[in-house]
């Protein structure tokens, strides 16, 4: 009753709204912490602008329907889909489109049951947890198995579609996965395509961006690269990309973990006296050059031309 008689504002200052929502903070954080991903950031800015305007329109009584916010993130592994989803939850929370702003990250195993009648309660359980936040379904195309028509994934899909339609105010669903397989998935389930308003593509990182990511990760862990190690890392990135199972930033993060391991080992074996902070945090060229990537990858995956008889 009181809402109806409450006077609506005549004008809306978008800048003031932008500042008040704390959106600037999240977007700056996005710029600072995520390297590269220019098209993704642009799309997020657009989406954020749209939501801000939509919010202003709602305040003036121009819009009635809540906008569809379900999204799909497509891109190769390690391109930052989960990280961006987490930020997205923060953005939506600040704009007031979700109430709590938490991220529930699930895969097929969390949604689909083992036997008849197991799937629906399992999916509902997950949906209940995600209420008021963002449900992130990684590798969503596994939900749909075209080779088995009695697969329980279909049941999960039906419940999801129903909730995506009826509880639009309560949660936002983000589907993620590789681009080509997501396309097949959407073609087989047209209901999903029409319920998802925002399709965001995550490009692969360039070599330069990956090197900057290396420095960003190491900076956060108080490690530094020597000049030689930096060149070695650039070589490493170039070689690793050509080898199988390359997962962008994730591969790089794993490589750094192994480099730290080798650094610790080197220090342990060679150090004779006291070590200073600099020595403890310096990653040397040898720590990176020792990687199997420089010998052409894992033994069984090496190209025959690498001269390995086995």
């Amino acid at each position: 009753m009181e809402d109806a008689v409450e006077a609506r504002p005549e004008t809306v200052d978008l800048q003031a709204e932008y500042q008040a929502s704390g959106l600037a903070e999240v977007l700056e954080e996005l710029d600072r912490e995520l390297i590269g991903l220019a098209p993704v950031k642009a799309r997020i800015r657009e989406t954020a602008a749209l939501l801000l305007v939509e919010k202003a329109r709602r305040m003036m009584g121009l819009a009635q329907e809540a906008p569809t916010l379900h999204m799909s993130f497509t891109g190769n592994p390690g391109t930052g889909k989960t990280t961006v989803a987490l930020k997205m939850a923060g953005i939506l929370k600040r704009l007031g489109y979700v109430r709590k702003g938490h991220l529930v990250s699930v895969t097929r195993d969390d949604l689909v049951g083992q036997y008849i009648g197991h799937t629906a309660p399992k999916t509902r359980e997950v949906l209940k947890r995600a209420m008021g936040g963002v449900l992130f379904i990684d590798e969503a195309y596994y939900l749909y198995r075209p080779d088995n028509e009695r697969d329980y994934g279909q049941e999960a899909i039906e419940i999801l579609l129903q909730v995506m339609e009826n509880n639009r105010d309560d949660l936002v669903v983000i589907l993620a996965g590789y681009a080509d397989r997501m396309d097949t998935f959407f073609n087989a389930n047209p209901g999903f395509r029409s319920r998802i308003a925002h399709h965001i593509e995550f490009p692969d990182y360039t070599d330069d961006e990956l090197l900057r990511i290396v420095e960003h990760i190491l900076g956060g862990q108080n490690y530094t690269l020597s000049a030689g190690a930096r060149t070695a890392m650039a070589d490493y990135i170039r070689l690793r990309r050509a080898q199988p199972h390359f997962a962008n930033a994730r591969s790089i993060r794993n490589a750094l973990d192994r480099a730290r391991l080798r650094q610790a080992n080197r220090l342990f074996e060679t150090a004779t006296g006291a070590l200073d902070a600099r020595a403890l945090s310096l990653i040397d060229e040898s720590d990176i050059r020792a990687s199997r990537v420089f010998q052409g990858g894992l033994a069984h995956e090496r190209a025959p031309s690498a001269g390995d008889p086995a």
Binding site: R124, R129, M131, N167, L171
Partner: protein, 129 residues
């Protein structure tokens, strides 16, 4: 006869918004919430039927409201209560409980007095419809 058990039972029935607000309060303190129902609101009947397991890792009241709506649809003519469990003492102890749904016609409690052993009196209560 209005059954009074748990919190808020002397107040008018809570609306769904008010129930949501109470659930948010509980979730904000880290309590788990269970939905329970019964058709026998005798004060000594402390164990009501559980509507599913208590919900442990929810963040938003909507999840509980969905279960409550499902329970209401399945048991329209019964009492439904929400129970909040606090685990700070190492056990899930009931820390809040309130009725969120009542049958259209509520049951009555009838008291009977029996004289025993001379002039001593035994009291008994039973639910009658």
């Amino acid at each position: 006869m209005r059954i009074t058990q748990g919190c808020f039972s002397f107040l008018p029935d809570l609306t769904d918004d008010q129930i949501s607000a109470q659930i948010d309060y509980c979730l904000g303190r880290g309590w788990a919430i269970g939905v329970e129902w019964t058709d026998e609101p005798h004060p000594r009947n402390t164990f009501w039927e559980m509507w599913g397991n208590p919900m442990f890792d929810l963040r938003d009241a909507k999840g509980v409201m969905m279960e409550l709506d499902a329970c209401r649809t399945a048991n329209p003519d019964s009492y439904i209560r929400l129970i909040a469990f606090d685990d700070t003492r190492g056990i899930e102890s009931v820390t809040m409980s309130f009725i969120v749904h009542r049958p259209k016609v509520e049951a009555r409690l009838r008291m009977t007095r029996t004289e025993v052993d001379g002039r001593a009196i035994r009291y008994a209560h039973e639910v009658v419809r």
